[in-house]
């Protein structure tokens, strides 16, 4: 250790040690910087934390940290009866709660060998599509917000309210309807609902036109989304990316059309939109078309709504026979599935919940490599995930 003679002044030797260390500190690793995005960031729709390693403005590696909202639904389902579980699955993707209930009750119905009456299936389909509109509409607005356009976000929230009002007047719940019963629905549609639904669909179509006018073709929006965050189709499937995210990569796959027939979808005529580019813009464009297609589906179903009961004959105590069933549906965010294993009791033995956002987000480490920091936000926004759907 270097010592300096200072008459009359005793220097604490530790100061010298610090001085030596200071030499080391100057030569710190100046290559990469770690940046923590989240857990609370407006673009994440919940609490997703993203640890990114930066080289200048460029992302070297990104690691999503999830689990802040993990509620253990797969464990909880083993402690509930079948009718109680619909309240749980409501809260997986909380923006399209109704759509989460449908595959679960379908699985239980298949195991019990009962089918819901046609009117119930029709109303389920209508409400599923309304959930789709409500969910995607928020995205159409918020995607503008990610690139700095404030107005579309207000439009998104404003018009989504019309749809939520419809869902509320039919089911009693704005976000968590819990309207499905094993064997049918809780109640029939209220008086005047159909006319109101038609009027709302008009508003939605006009809103879609507004979004198209303001964002699609907008120079800033295109510059921020075109060619950004490209997912190749074959990589998307291998990661389990589904829904509009996959169709925007040119994979023509929609479980409403291609899966096992469910609900009233075989009866309606609709187009599955795809886009070859696979970038953030394509994901926005596909979702915009899907909203219009959902309106078309709802209008067709309102025209062909059959009369009849809304509840099949089911035993008062629901006991589901032994068996295993895999049910999958096309949810607003992608493929939603339940693998239900029953042992003949009033509750399931094991339920594997396959939620769309979980797989959609698992591609982030690959997707964010090499992009610039501002694009991280638009890419995450364009993937459109709900944290409850990741964390379950």
């Amino acid at each position: 250790m270097a010592t300096t003679e200072t008459p009359g002044f005793e220097v604490d030797p530790s100061l010298y040690r610090n001085l030596e260390n200071a030499q080391v500190n100057v030569e710190l690793d100046n290559g990469d910087m770690i940046l923590n995005l989240g857990p609370q960031h407006p673009a994440t729709h919940g609490t997703l934390r993203l640890v990114v390693r930066l080289d200048g403005e460029r992302v070297v590696a990104a690691d999503p940290v999830i689990g802040y909202m993990h509620r253990g639904y797969e464990k909880l389902t083993e402690f509930r009866t079948y009718p109680q579980i619909t309240t749980l699955v409501n809260r997986i993707d909380w923006l399209s709660s109704f759509a989460n209930e449908v595959p679960f009750v379908h699985g239980a119905e298949q195991l019990m060998g009962i089918t819901a009456p046609p009117r119930a299936e029709w109303i389920r389909t209508i409400l599923t599509e309304l959930s789709r509109i409500a969910t995607i509409y928020l995205f159409l607005g918020e995607m503008g917000l990610q690139v700095g356009a404030l107005t579309p976000a207000f439009w998104g929230f404003r018009d989504r309210e019309h749809v939520l009002n419809l869902i509320e007047s039919a089911t009693g719940g704005r976000f968590h309807p819990n309207f499905n019963r094993i064997g049918g629905l809780k109640e029939d549609l209220p008086w005047g609902w159909i006319a109101e639904c038609r009027a709302t669909m008009d508003k939605i179509l006009r809103g879609c036109d507004d979004f198209e006018d303001v964002l699609v073709g907008n120079e800033i929006f295109e510059a921020r989304t075109r060619g950004i965050g490209i997912i190749p189709g074959e990589l998307g499937t291998a990661y389990g990316v589904s829904g509009a995210n996959l169709r925007a990569s040119g994979v023509d796959w929609d479980l409403r059309r291609d899966g096992k027939p469910y609900l009233a979808y075989p009866e309606v005529d609709f187009k599955v939109w795809t886009h070859p580019d696979g970038d953030s813009f394509a994901r926005y464009w596909v979702r915009l078309q899907e909203t219009r297609e959902a309106v078309r589906i709802v209008l067709q179903l309102l025209d062909s709504l059959p009369a009849g009961p809304i509840m099949a004959k089911v035993p008062r105590i629901i006991k589901v026979p032994e068996g295993e069933v895999w049910t999958e549906v096309e949810n607003p965010l992608g493929q939603m599935g339940y693998y239900i294993i029953s042992k003949g009791a009033t509750g399931p033995f094991r339920v594997k919940i396959r939620s769309a956002s979980f797989s959609n987000v698992s591609i982030l480490p690959w997707l964010l490599r090499g992009v610039y920091v501002p694009d991280v936000i638009t890419i995450m926004g364009s993937l459109y995930f709900i944290l409850g759907d990741i964390d379950r």
Binding site: I66, G67, H70, G72, E74, K75, L76, E78, F79, R80, T81, P83, Q84, Q110, L111, E234, L235, T237, A238, Y239, G240, V241, S242, L246, V251, D252, W253, D258, G259, K260, R316, I317, I318, K319, E322, G323, E324, V325, W326, E328, Q335, G337, Y339, I341, K343, G344, A345, T346, G347, F349, R350, K352, R354, F358, S359, S362, I363, W366, D391
Partner: protein, 255 residues
């Protein structure tokens, strides 16, 4: 919904009748026999195997060969149980020969019945009463743990559920990450929830739970503590329905 709860939650509700025992599955060997109260049985097919599923299975079996242990059709989905050493090969075959380009999920199953029967002293009084014998689903199992996954084809629109047995002493199976990169997170989840290790996974670590978490929550012997210390709060709301034959005893303290 309240009308379902009284009998479902009643502590003295009779356990459901044991499923009719059919002939023992040949796969169940000595290791399974060591388990307490193993009902070795092969459940009959839930639906007739339709020709499409049989044709799909024939293609799969032709490509995988020896690795196939058992198969079944369950409500329109082909379920194939493969040998543990063929687990990764099964994914490769599904991807290459069956065009299953899409990974849906990978997860685990713990076939052990929950150790504490509902209604026991201090036990969970709200959980549905499950049978206390070990049964193994549509394609059987060798023991307590299984890993299963579902892959699909986005072009041919079919899907296949693959299952494999995992040893209870050393739960370990090959990773699918090399075949389907999306298996990464699914296997991390399975590892922390069931304690199954995946050979060849690039970096297995906690996904949902904090790094210092101990135990494997989705194993059946991992107690749901909230229900151990306090019964399901909804129980106090349960009132006997008019016309109920048996008075409900769990409604004590109800208002």
């Amino acid at each position: 919904m309240a009308d379902e709860t009284p009998e479902a939650s009643s502590p003295d509700a009779p356990a459901p009748d044991a499923p009719p025992a059919s002939e023992p599955a040949t796969e169940v060997e000595a290791s399974a026999a060591a388990e307490p109260a193993v009902a070795a049985q092969a459940p009959e097919e839930t639906v007739d195997l339709d020709p499409e599923i049989e044709a799909l299975f024939a293609r799969f079996e032709a490509a995988l060969g020896e690795g196939v242990v058992d198969h079944a059709g369950s409500y329109g989905t082909l379920v194939v149980r493969v040998r543990p050493d063929a687990w990764r090969r099964a994914a490769e075959v599904a991807r290459a020969d069956l065009d299953c380009d899409y990974l849906s999920f990978v997860s685990g199953i713990d076939w052990m019945p929950a150790p504490k029967a509902p209604g026991d002293e201090g036990g969970d009084t709200s959980a549905p009463v499950q049978p206390d014998t070990m049964t193994f689903g549509v394609t059987g199992s060798d023991g307590r743990f299984q890993v299963f996954g579902h892959v699909q084809s986005t072009t041919k629109h079919w899907g296949i559920t693959l299952k494999t047995d995992v040893s209870e002493q050393e739960p370990r199976v090959d990773s699918w990450v090399g075949v389907y990169p999306g298996a990464d997170w699914h296997e991390r989840e399975c590892w922390e929830m069931y304690g199954v290790d995946f050979t060849g996974h690039p970096k297995i670590r906690h996904l949902y739970l904090p790094a210092e978490f101990e135990g494997h929550p989705l194993r059946k012997d991992f107690a749901l503590v909230a229900r151990e210390v306090k019964p399901w709060p909804g129980l106090v709301d349960v009132e006997p329905m008019p016309g109920d034959d048996t008075p409900d005893e769990t409604a004590e303290g109800g208002t």
